[in-house]
Symmetry: C2
């Protein structure tokens, strides 16, 4: 019988924010699959679980280049899936670890679809999202009562960003580093700049930053792992 | 020195989906505060952590009636906060447990604001949201690549629901039981009915239901704990 593929969310950064189930699955599987952008880069997901992983656990490194080229991406997915399937065919179980939650903008989902479509058993273990952890650290709600929440992964390329900012009670913008200056100007125009909080490297010990005064934030010097939360009713 | 208040997300239902940190805090605190709608009702949050709680742990039951009356709600928050503060003043730590995540439509946040504003130390421990767990169980993504996600807590009362369904790649509707027939009709009109999945009682053993064919779903017989996920690009 072929092995099973698990997509395991390891949460946003704090190693204590993984679930009991994620920990159990990581303990039980034969292989841990680790996504990397290149062989000489570190895996953030791995750094989160490093301490709880059995040192003898076998690891598969998978490479997913940072690219917008559909062909490059698809080739990397096919190659990674092949590498996982090789272990599943050997009756081994594989846990693919992923930052945050596997269903929220994760590369895992492409593995999941490819491997599931070939008839293998798959299971997704949810994780704490960066936006839930960020609102927790900032001590604010993401949404109350009947308020709506919009999640925008790539603000610069979002065609209806104005409409969203004008009509939603709460807006989460993920990975805002590249276009923070553009967003700051937009928020200023809409009188939302002081209704926002920026959380960078949430849960990464000694590196986390929570900023309520975005006037002071240098848009050019913000971590890739930054989440902006805008609350129409104030933060 | 006064005690500290923790808002602890216990996740969507599966007791294994609480975090290592939530478990540690529940082990360490002096009191567990439990939200109930009435004294003769069970607490769902309590049922999730029951097995891991020390049987001798002291419990505070707090009552939050299901009401839209602002005055009734505020009175219940004030009364509950008073009950927590009494323990904090006695130098005891209190963990208020909450279904899902404390920042996502949770009553905890009102306790948090009230008690924090009086100068007490507070900390939010994030939890797995019902929508992340639901997408995981359905084996689909909540959002990929540059797709947007909208979260609507109360579809019937959402004034711009049409606009949201027309412009967002992914829409999550929480607690849809009351108005499922209305939503089904709307999705049919927009040719989205077969691009939706309904997850009820996600993670509740033996009670969970995952429905991809909403034509078959009786809108009148759906659990209160139901999440509808609509994906423009298909489920």
């Amino acid at each position: 019988m072929a092995g099973k593929l698990y997509g395991v969310g390891v949460g946003p950064g704090d190693p204590e924010l993984i679930t009991l189930k994620a920990k159990r699955i990581l303990d039980e599987v034969d292989y841990i699959a680790i996504p990397k952008t290149a062989s000489n880069k570190d895996s953030v997901a791995l750094s989160i679980v490093q301490e709880i992983l059995d040192k003898k656990k076998e690891v598969i490194e998978l490479y997913f280049p940072m690219s917008y080229d559909e062909k490059v991406l698809k080739e990397s997915w096919e190659k990674a899936a092949k590498s996982i399937i090789y272990r599943l065919d050997g009756e081994k179980n594989v846990a693919f670890i992923t930052l945050g939650d596997p269903t929220v903008y994760s590369t895992y989902i492409y593995m999941h679809k490819l491997i599931k479509s070939k008839g293998y058993e798959t299971e997704i273990i949810p994780g704490i999202t960066s936006f839930c952890a960020s609102s927790a650290r900032a001590g604010i709600s993401l949404g109350e009562n009947r308020e709506t929440i919009a999640i925008v992964p790539s603000a610069y390329e979002c065609q209806n960003l104005d409409e969203i900012l004008d009509s939603f009670d709460n807006v989460v913008m993920m990975k805002v580093s590249k276009n923070l200056q553009y967003i700051k100007n937009k928020l200023k125009d809409k009188e939302l700049l002081h209704k926002a909080v920026l959380v960078s490297k949430c849960g990464f010990e000694g590196e986390e930053k929570i900023e309520f005064d975005l006037d002071e934030t240098d848009g050019e010097k913000v971590s890739y792992f930054s989440t902006l939360i805008i609350k129409r009713n104030g933060v």
